[in-house]
Subunit: 189 residues, 2 copies
């Protein structure tokens, strides 16, 4: 599998933009909103999602999923963060994280390429903390409340796209995937 031949399946255009910026390629894209299975294990969700994407697209696919683990809630909601965001928004996430007196958080991204036979994963992890209230209008999702370590205390939402991408969990996952694809015995297909 070659990275440039993958179809990125995501309904989130923010993620598409970041992936293309990070990889420096234009990715083919399909905006399908795939069903995801319930789990706290990101890899399990992404593996299943890659199969669903392949069944729909019938060509080698790229999918990813992101997890936001709140230390005060022992890792919850993890990959279920999407639904917490829908329900309470970034301000609610901030309030929750601080209700538990431990605002640390871990963000993970896992990307998976799947061609119907072989699967290749790449993951990226960033540690940081949740802001007391949302800050910054850039980015998407919960970017306004996540303060990554090494970002000078700013939230992702306060960074330019270039600044965010220099740090981000998604960049790390996609770069790890790119490397894994290059090393994979299937890379010549």
């Amino acid at each position: 599998m070659k990275l440039a031949s993958l179809v990125f399946v995501t309904s989130n255009l923010g993620k598409l933009r970041e992936a293309q910026d990070v990889l420096g390629v234009t990715l083919e894209h399909q905006a399908l909103d795939l069903v995801e299975i319930q789990s706290l294990e990101l890899k399990e969700i992404v593996r299943d999602k890659a199969r669903r994407a392949y069944e729909r697209v019938r060509r080698p696919v790229l999918v990813e999923d992101t997890s936001l683990e709140l230390a005060g809630m022992r890792g919850f909601p993890g990959p279920l963060i999407r639904w917490m965001l829908v329900s309470v928004g970034p301000a609610g996430i901030a309030r929750l994280a601080h209700a538990f007196a431990d605002p640390r958080a871990i963000v993970r991204c896992m990307a998976c390429a799947f061609d119907g036979h072989d699967e290749v994963f790449g993951s990226g992890v960033i540690r940081g903390m949740i802001a007391e209230t949302p800050r910054g209008r850039r980015g998407f999702g919960w970017d306004s409340v996540f303060i990554p370590d090494g970002g000078g205390g700013r939230t992702y939402g306060e960074m330019t796209p270039a600044e965010k991408n220099a740090i981000s969990h998604r960049r790390r996952a996609l770069e790890a995937l790119k490397e894994a694809l290059a090393e994979s015995p299937f890379s010549s297909r």
Copy 2:
């Protein structure tokens, strides 16, 4: 479909016990831990779960799922309560609900019978609130923190099985399902 001919598919023996007590029948049972899809819509999850159960069992199945909606979190986690419970336990749920200054909660149960062609639903809703700390050692899951309206201020965990079943969301869902099955044009199959 006849209720007594359904195979109840659940990995939770507490739910099996309650269903049998409530319906007054012995149900055939398979302890499969079925994958559930991510959603905040209980019916969507239960419909998909019924199909997965049927694919495994190949006989008319009964499945159910339960949702705990925290008013302070605008309904979150809903059907994802299982994962919040795994992560923070009943005490964590209590702490969360009270962090938002609105401890009201709604519990829903949805049961679904599916025979490969027809599906019949029954749902039960109970309003109440979340206790400040867990109380009572009976029941299972989050029973120790849910105080149903009309239960004299006690949590499900402080009630005998008979007391809980007289009120419970699961009894209401199963009775509604029983009625729906009796009225269904497919009841003679």
